[in-house]
């Protein structure tokens, strides 16, 4: 009895920090409609800054809490800088660009944190004055946990007062419903947005800072926290602070007790709960349905043009060049080109759902990873021949897409993006934690191709054939009724339904197909490298995919392969540099702000301008 009660208290204590992050995320989204991927980074910064203060100054019991507050304010100010320098430029950009831009911030913050605090985990000292333990029902409970249990509801109450008893709060709630009308009533949006960003970032910073005596902060903290915060916001309902609180408690208790029953797969439990809630209430426990509805989109996109003679010729020439690659007799080039081909397939499959399908997935690497792990595990555990293992990898990815996709296609816009990201992070965590089966961090080694395909040249041609075939297949589908239906569902779901297209079903099928194709790329990747590691299904890999599509241009069909090639060659260069993440982050920001139409889009614009000129 006592034991379960302490476990319950531990759950409540953990809930507080998560609630703070999720509340901040939710408030920022409510007003600015931006889902801030860097919110986990704000949490991480709060923790690092608090750590630095409490380890460099000898703080007393009061000083400790002042340090926590100071860290929160510092993070709030960093948030203000991000808002004023970056987000102000992209409030009117499509959601995907906003998400990507905030991911650019994640990368920059990661490298900044690495430079300032180094790679080792940091665990702060115990909080002065709260460093003991209390006996409750015969079990010891840390005093600090009790303080955390108080902190959550305290902040919840403070937010409530702020929102209901101050003019600022009234304006924030009004902005959550109708920003434009608020402007017409004389409220300066710029000031409001910046102040809201300060508040949201400070809440995340507070969550991180308060966690310092309980949990070590590491450079992984940002993405772990953001995924958990997404789950909480999706479960609790976007825009609802009380919902965030309830969901934080629910998820934390689930973790606290799940660990007793299935220590390895608490995340699976979390997934199940999230799944059940989303089926019953797609907009979350206390959310509002309108947030998940598709907003008034951009202008409908121009239809894709079938390749004209010139483009076909160009494609053929590219293919001939690819066929000729082994003639160069350069092994390194062949390895590089295998990577490029696999990434091109990965990016094309992502583009398949996100361009024509309008479903911007922030977790597409999950299916790449499922394919790779599926193939690798079949090979290692069952000694399956390569051909079967590749088929198995595709099947694993497709099965994952069947399950995850079923939930995801029920949502749209940022909700879709958040859910795909959360699922992918769950997949990554399972692979990472379930060491007995997946090898955990050590990965799975010695996954070599079958004897007939073991020579570099044969494997290269095998990859070339499969990737080209798969890419052409997807391209073909887009010009077939399947693709028209997908695009109709993207541009005008209601009208598509009216002419008898089951949009959700069509999107689900598209999602599964894209997952399977990504799985094909993943399983070939496993054989090309001879090993797999959890990294290949982590969030950065998903973002890489988005970068490739973006670099090539979302609105073009040939963008993904051009983008994949450009991205990989670029990454190959910069990943040798020390602060490559920050460089990549800045590149993302640059692309989003200056170059949103992508390479192919840019070239096409130039071409048509030249043609239009007399």
């Amino acid at each position: 009895m006592g034991f379960y009660f302490t476990q319950f208290l531990t759950g409540l204590a953990s809930a507080s920090s998560l609630f703070l992050v999720a509340a901040g995320l939710s408030i920022i989204f409510g007003v600015t409609r931006i889902v801030n991927l860097a919110h986990g980074s704000f949490y991480m910064l709060g923790a690092y800054i608090a750590y630095s203060i409490v380890t460099s100054i000898d703080v007393g019991p009061v000083g400790f809490w002042l340090a926590v507050l100071a860290a929160a304010v510092a993070v709030g100010l960093i948030g203000v800088a991000v808002e004023m320098l970056l987000l102000r430029r992209i409030y009117h950009a499509p959601e995907m660009f906003q998400l990507l831009a905030t991911f650019g911030v994640v990368l920059v913050v990661q490298d900044a944190a690495l430079a300032i605090w180094g790679p080792a985990d940091k665990l702060g000292p115990r909080a002065p004055g709260l460093d003991g333990a209390v006996r409750i029902f015969g079990e010891l409970v840390p005093q600090y946990d009790l303080a955390m249990i108080v902190l959550g509801p305290l902040v919840l109450g403070a937010i409530w007062l702020l929102f209901h008893k101050t003019r600022w709060g009234t304006l924030v709630r009004a902005a959550t419903q109708d920003r434009q009308m608020l402007g017409a009533l004389g409220a300066n949006q710029k000031v409001l947005f910046t102040s809201v960003f300060f508040a949201g970032a400070a809440l995340a910073g507070l969550g991180g800072a308060a966690q310092v005596p309980r949990e070590a902060v590491s450079l992984f903290t940002d993405l772990n926290i953001i995924a958990e915060a997404f789950v909480i916001v999706v479960v609790g309902g976007m825009g609802s602070i009380l919902g965030a609180f309830l969901a934080a408690v629910l998820i934390s208790e689930l973790n606290a007790f799940g660990i007793l029953i299935f220590p390895q797969i608490t995340l699976v439990l979390m997934f199940l709960v999230m799944a059940v809630i989303l089926v019953v209430r797609p907009w979350g426990l206390l959310g509002r349905p309108e947030f998940i509805a598709r907003g008034p989109g951009e202008m409908p996109e121009a239809p894709y043009r079938p390749a004209d003679g010139r483009l076909k010729l160009l494609g053929l020439a590219a293919l001939l060049l690819l066929v000729a690659v082994p003639l160069a007799g350069d092994d390194f080039l062949m390895v590089l080109m295998v990577d490029v081909l696999l990434l091109a397939l990965f990016a094309t499959s992502l583009h398949f759902i996100m361009g024509p399908g309008g479903m911007v997935s922030f977790g597409h690497a999950a299916y790449f990873g499922l394919g790779a792990y599926g193939a690798a595990m079949l090979t290692k555990l069952l000694d399956t021949p390569m051909e079967l293992a590749v088929a198995g990898g595709i099947a694993a990815a497709a099965a994952g897409a069947v399950v995850f996709g079923w939930f995801c296609v029920r949502l749209s816009g940022v909700y879709f993006a958040m859910l795909t990201l959360a699922f992918a992070q769950i997949g990554w965590s399972v692979v990472f934690q379930w060491g007995d089966v997946t090898g955990g961090d050590d990965g799975i080694l010695n996954v070599w191709p079958a004897a007939w395909a073991s020579s570099r040249i044969v494997f290269y041609y095998l990859t070339l054939a499969l990737c080209t075939g798969a890419i052409l297949f997807m391209r073909h589908l887009l010009y077939a009724p399947f693709g028209y239906g997908l695009r109709a569902g993207r541009d005008s779901p209601l009208r598509a339904e009216a002419i008898g297209i089951d949009v959700r079903m069509r999107q689900w099928h598209g999602f599964i197909l894209a997952g399977a194709m990504s799985g094909l790329a993943g399983s070939l990747y496993a054989f090309s490298k001879g090993s797999v590691f959890p990294d290949i299904m982590a969030i950065p890999q998903s973002i890489d995919g988005l970068m490739m599509v973006l670099l090539g241009g979302v609105k073009t069909l040939s963008g993904p392969y051009v983008g994949a090639a450009a991205f990989h060659l670029l990454e190959d260069q910069i990943s040798r540099l020390e602060f490559w993440r920050a460089i990549l982050g800045v590149t993302i920001l640059f692309l989003v702000i200056v170059f949103p139409q992508g390479l192919v889009g840019f070239l096409r614009q130039r071409l048509s301008r030249d043609e239009a000129a007399p």
Partner: protein, 242 residues
């Protein structure tokens, strides 16, 4: 200004053009409103009334044209700046904050008092709209259409404007409420407020306005006093639904 003998108009719009995407919605709208006047913009469905008002308010960016309000050039200014210059806007779809109470809705509209414009407080507004007084703490979403229409006007008045844009204030209201609305417009005029309203309902317009403009396909086709319009059967038949 006073030296010239005639006051310059409070609001003047010249050669306004506006597009939604490629659709040319307004092609050269011009109008001018004197201080203290009640002017109605009449026109059929889709004629461009709402777009004109939104352009003036800064909610739609005009592609071309000049908008002057109290000697300030407000074309292309942000809505909040236009509001702070003393121009209030009441949208046709009301846009009440449904999860805020009546009092909170009023608070959102509150701005500093302005020299030369009537000053409003919740109490004065409750005197103007007695039924709102009885539901101070009711959520905006729980009010009837007529009550919401009163609230949206009251909310805009909280900004202490010198002029107010009312987009189809009588639309969708029961006859009794429409009568009340006409009374309200007359009271606003008596307070010294300038009123620019858009209407399809000629009957309502006749009751409250001094002067009318008729807009059709994004162009002003007629301008005259209400009396002149009443006498001109051809114009009414050509541009207004009867």
């Amino acid at each position: 200004m006073a030296e010239t003998g005639t006051d310059p108009p409070l609001l003047s719009v010249e050669g306004l053009h506006s597009y939604y995407g490629r659709a040319h919605i307004l092609s050269g709208v011009s109008l001018s409103v004197a201080r203290g006047e009640v002017v109605v913009l009449l026109g059929r469905n889709g004629a461009g009334k709402t777009t004109t008002l939104k352009c003036i308010m800064g909610l739609v960016r005009p592609a071309e044209g000049r908008i002057r309000f109290q000697d300030e050039d407000i074309a292309g200014a942000a809505p909040y700046a236009v509001c702070r210059a003393g121009l209030a806007y009441v949208p046709e779809d009301r846009r009440i904050f449904t999860e805020l109470t009546v009092m909170e809705n009023l608070e959102v509209g509150r701005q500093k008092p302005r020299a030369g414009a009537p000053e409003w407080t919740p109490d004065r507004l409750f005197a103007l709209f007695p039924n709102l007084a009885e539901m101070r703490n009711r959520l905006g979403g729980r009010m009837s259409g007529g009550e919401q229409q009163m609230l949206t006007i009251a909310r805009s008045l909280m900004g202490n404007p010198s002029a107010i844009l009312l987009d189809e204030p009588s639309e969708g209201l029961a006859p009794v409420i429409v009568e009340q609305m006409a009374q309200t417009v007359r009271e606003l005029k008596a307070e010294g407020l300038t009123v620019i309203l858009s209407e399809q309902n000629l009957h309502f317009a006749n009751h409250v306005s001094d002067r009318a403009y008729i807009i059709e396909k994004g162009q002003i086709r007629y301008e005259g006093t209400m009396a002149a319009l009443a006498a001109d059967e051809d114009v009414r038949a050509a541009y207004l639904t009867v």
